[in-house]
């Protein structure tokens, strides 16, 4: 088990190394010169050169990458030994000259909003998705089933940005029962936090619970036709026990897997949701950074998101092995 985790972590780090190398390499062939961006309106060639030096763009790519990797594990300084020395503690994911801050602190700054979205929405969609899926499966073929699955099918075809705007139009502009979305720290005001997040939660949860409802229903129905469920009936178990102990237990594994991966992807930034609702999370940070070609931030966020994806993969595999006795971790 421990060996397995170590092995997976090793592979995960390998994947992240490749991701970071690719991201790094790609900006090497970027059309706009990053130094030029940092130089500002009144730029002189000398200043450009100095910025280029500060950004270390005058170094070979391999040196830049090497220092970057070192920064992640051991921290680093930019412009070491000069007057303008900048410290960037481990884990240092780069330094944003447009924000004049280490990327790590930017990420940490934005993380709470993203965490808020991810956890709020995931609780909602799990509750709604699972329960409607279970009810549908148990009442298969009834009007209730058809109705909820019809909605789920429709909802799964909707776009976050479209639903988000519609909901915002209804709840903020017309009914005015919700404030304009944004982010307030829950430590400042829990109610403001919840009210401002509500639309993001609902929108994400609406679309995702549709998917989970369908997934749950399909999984349950598939398990219901398994021979072992028939065995359970033949033992004389009650319907409720069969459904909870056998059917749900059998159907839960793929759901947990998908959930883990979804959550992992979401933690890396709910890009579209944050964009639509203007929530200052990782997704917004990264889209802004892309728009401004703030390369250290882009690199940092891509890597950070990939970290969540990779971690989610490992966690999912571990959970999977815990849930499915057939899977032996070696």
């Amino acid at each position: 088990m421990l060996k397995y985790i170590l092995k997976r972590t090793f592979i995960g780090v390998f994947v992240l190394a490749i991701v970071s190398a690719v991201v790094f390499g790609i900006f090497y062939i970027l059309p706009a010169d990053p130094a030029r961006l940092a130089c500002g309106k009144a730029c002189t060639p000398e200043l450009m050169d100095r910025i280029r030096h500060t950004l270390e763009l005058d170094q070979p790519l391999s040196v830049q990458y090497g220092r970057f990797v070192k920064g992640i594990f051991a921290g680093r300084t930019y412009l070491a030994g000069t007057e303008a020395e900048l410290n960037c503690d481990a884990p240092c994911l780069g330094y944003s000259y447009q924000n004049d801050l280490p990327v790590t602190s930017l990420l940490m700054d934005r993380l709470p909003a993203t965490l808020s979205i991810a956890f709020g929405a995931s609780i909602l969609w799990l509750l709604v998705g699972l329960s409607s899926g279970i009810v549908s499966a148990l009442r298969r073929g009834t009007m209730l089933d058809k109705f909820s699955q019809g909605i789920a099918l429709g909802a799964a075809s909707l776009q976050i940005y479209f639903v988000g705007l519609i909901l915002q139009f209804i709840f903020v502009d017309k009914l005015a029962i919700l404030p304009i979305p944004g982010y307030t720290s829950p430590f400042d005001s829990v109610s403001d936090w919840a009210k401002q997040m509500a639309l993001a939660w609902f929108t994400l949860a609406f679309l995702l619970s549709a998917i989970y409802s369908r997934l749950t229903r399909a999984g349950m129905i598939e398990v219901m036709s398994e021979d072992y469920v028939r065995t359970a009936r033949a033992k004389g178990l009650s319907g409720r026990k069969i459904n909870s102990r056998h059917v749900l237990r059998g159907a839960i594994t793929p759901i947990v897997t998908v959930f883990g991966l979804d959550l992992g992807a979401l933690l890396g930034g709910a890009v579209i949701t944050e964009y639509v609702f203007n929530i200052p999370g990782l997704g917004k940070l990264s889209t802004d950074a892309v728009a401004n070609l703030d390369i250290p931030v882009v690199t940092g966020t891509v890597l950070f998101s990939a970290f969540f994806v990779v971690t989610a993969n490992i966690v999912v595999d571990l959970i999977y092995s815990a849930l499915d006795p057939k899977v032996r971790l070696t």
Binding site: R36, K41, P45, E46
Partner: protein, 545 residues
């Protein structure tokens, strides 16, 4: 005698009371708070709350004028404009109660020479002040001295020695490289996060990208300051809101929005909901901003003047302004110098018509010019920025040019870094037309024409802000003449230069001056339009009881 407007305190606003918190909502964080590094309109205006410069603009009862700030007068020059001497106000204090000295003022200028570390900011000090020893700034050159700035023995006067006569020098000293910073308090690039206050407020906390909180500076004395009020207890700047969100929350005017104002958000989308509606009359501030939206035609690549004239004629001012929001969002322009700068403004024609009265495209004329051209360049690369309505404006231009028979390559650039990219000379993707804008650095032709059209600012690889890359011998001769002229005469020459450049050389098309419509909450008073840099100013804001 000293004019009344030069001495503090500034006249009180009627109905204003002290106390409360004023919230300023902005879309973006200030680029820099370090005065030496800042060059952005809204910030220049805002940081006056805690930064005093040698001279500054004062706006009282809607009238803006240049007045001494740290200085006690607007400077005197005796050697033909080559050196300027300013008297300094006595008894000025920093936020810790220590005295503001002439040496601090000199140091404030000196540190701006270390622009490798303190990037951004204006380059005027470096451009104009005499520096025979090639001083590089205190970080690089700890023992060096800047010859061109000299304090009198008593420390009550400061003298700037220039390399050329600059008649408008007192305007230049409004910028942040002419503020006082005690050497001991200089934290280099970290100064950006916590400038040391000399104004009525000081920084309590600053969370980059999120929030800046200002509280009162008890050592500031209202009697020494003819410019600044100090009504609220606190200013809180909340950053990073979306344009639409700001528009909506200010219109809805609920909760905190009541005491909020946005100084960087022009109401565009929802303008029809508020403009001319009595309910918003008192809190909607509509004014002509100094921003001129214009198109530079690259004379390096579009060499034939007839082609450039064809381009000028093809432009449909109407669709371009519609894309920007219609006549409520802008006022047609023929030049970049606004009519309000009376000494420099010229009323001339573009494509032989008065564009203000007749903004439609002149397709027939465009085709005629194109037919006349010997070097028929019909494929044009239009550079524009992916920000706000700019892509739409570009599309309007594309359409107009196509109608005149041009082929247009649309070159969209990311939001930031646009200007530095399109000013690059040479290269295979150099734009033929640059969609851009300019706001004067001071309200004079000299604050516009030098920066935009003087070939001397350019290098072989960088056009700087001369996006049309104009370098015409006859015009350069006029520039040389202007350098040597007194302010009024200089303004006239600069006006001539612009007219020639647009009318004859056809290197430039100004489309409109932006109309700003900004809002404040209903419980906020004292918000005013400041014509110094053409901004909405919170310097006199107060919370209504």
């Amino acid at each position: 005698a000293t004019p009344a407007s030069w001495v503090g305190p500034v006249p009180a606003k009627t109905g204003a009371t002290k106390g409360g918190t004023v919230t300023v909502i902005t879309q973006a964080d200030f680029e820099h708070l370090d005065p030496a590094r800042n060059y952005v309109g809204g910030t220049l205006d805002f940081y006056r709350l805690f930064i005093r410069t040698l001279t500054q603009y004062r706006t009282v009862n809607g009238k803006t004028e240049l007045v001494p700030d740290l200085a006690a007068d607007l400077g005197t020059t005796n050697d033909g404009g080559l050196s300027w001497t300013f008297k300094l106000r006595p008894n000025l204090k920093y936020e810790d109660g220590s005295k503001i000295t002439c040496e601090d003022l000199k140091y404030g200028t000196m540190r701006s020479y270390n622009d490798d570390i303190l990037d951004g900011g204006t380059t005027y000090a470096k451009d104009f002040i005499d520096n025979p020893t090639n001083y590089k700034g205190p970080y690089t050159d700890p023992n060096g001295d800047l010859y061109g700035v000299q304090c009198s023995a008593k420390g009550d006067e400061i003298t700037y020695v220039l390399t050329q006569p600059i008649p408008y020098f007192p305007y230049v000293t409004t910028f942040g490289s002419f503020t006082a910073i005690p050497k001991a308090k200089d934290t280099k690039q970290n100064y950006d996060n916590r400038p040391f206050s000399s104004g009525p407020y000081k920084i309590e906390s600053y969370d980059r990208g999120k929030q800046l909180t200002l509280v009162r500076n008890s050592y500031w004395d209202t009697k020494t300051d003819p410019i600044r009020w100090n009504y609220p207890d606190k200013f809180v700047v909340k950053m990073g809101a979306d344009q639409n969100v700001i528009e909506q929350s200010l219109i809805s005017d609920s909760g905190e929005a009541k005491t909020s104002v946005s100084t960087d958000t022009n109401i565009v989308t929802n303008l029809s909901k508020v403009l001319g509606k009595p309910a918003y009359k008192n809190r909607l501030f509509s004014f002509l901003s100094p921003y001129n939206r214009y198109y530079a035609i690259n004379v390096d690549t579009v060499k034939d003047v007839n082609v450039r004239k064809a381009i000028q004629c093809a432009f449909d001012f109407k669709t371009v302004l519609a894309a920007a929001g219609g006549t409520n969002s802008g006022q047609y322009a023929n030049s970049t110098i606004p009519p309000s700068i009376k000494t420099g403004y010229r009323n001339f024609t573009v494509c032989e018509r008065d564009v203000i009265k007749n903004p439609e495209a002149q397709i027939a004329k465009a085709k005629a010019y194109l037919a006349k051209a010997s070097d028929k360049k019909t494929t044009l690369r239009l550079a524009y920025r992916d920000k706000g309505v700019e892509p739409l404006r570009a599309a309007a231009v594309e359409q107009a040019l196509k109608a005149a028979g041009f082929t247009v390559i649309m070159d969209k650039y990311p939001g930031s870094g646009y200007y530095s990219t399109v000013s690059k000379r040479g290269g295979d993707k150099e734009p033929d037309i640059v969609q851009t804008s300019w706001a004067f650095d001071w309200s004079a032709a000299s604050g516009i024409v030098y920066a935009l059209f003087d070939a001397r600012t350019m290098t072989s690889t960088d056009a700087k802000s001369n996006y049309s890359r104009g370098n015409f011998a006859d015009l350069q001769k006029l520039f040389a003449q202007a350098d040597q002229s007194a302010p009024a005469a200089q303004e006239k020459i600069l006006g001539d230069i612009e007219q020639k450049l647009i009318q004859d050389k056809a290197a430039h098309i100004s489309i409109y001056f932006e109309r700003s419509h900004m809002m404040s909450g209903s419980k906020l008073g004292g918000v005013q339009i400041d014509n110094g840099w053409g901004d909405l100013s919170v310097i006199g804001a107060y919370v209504k009881k």
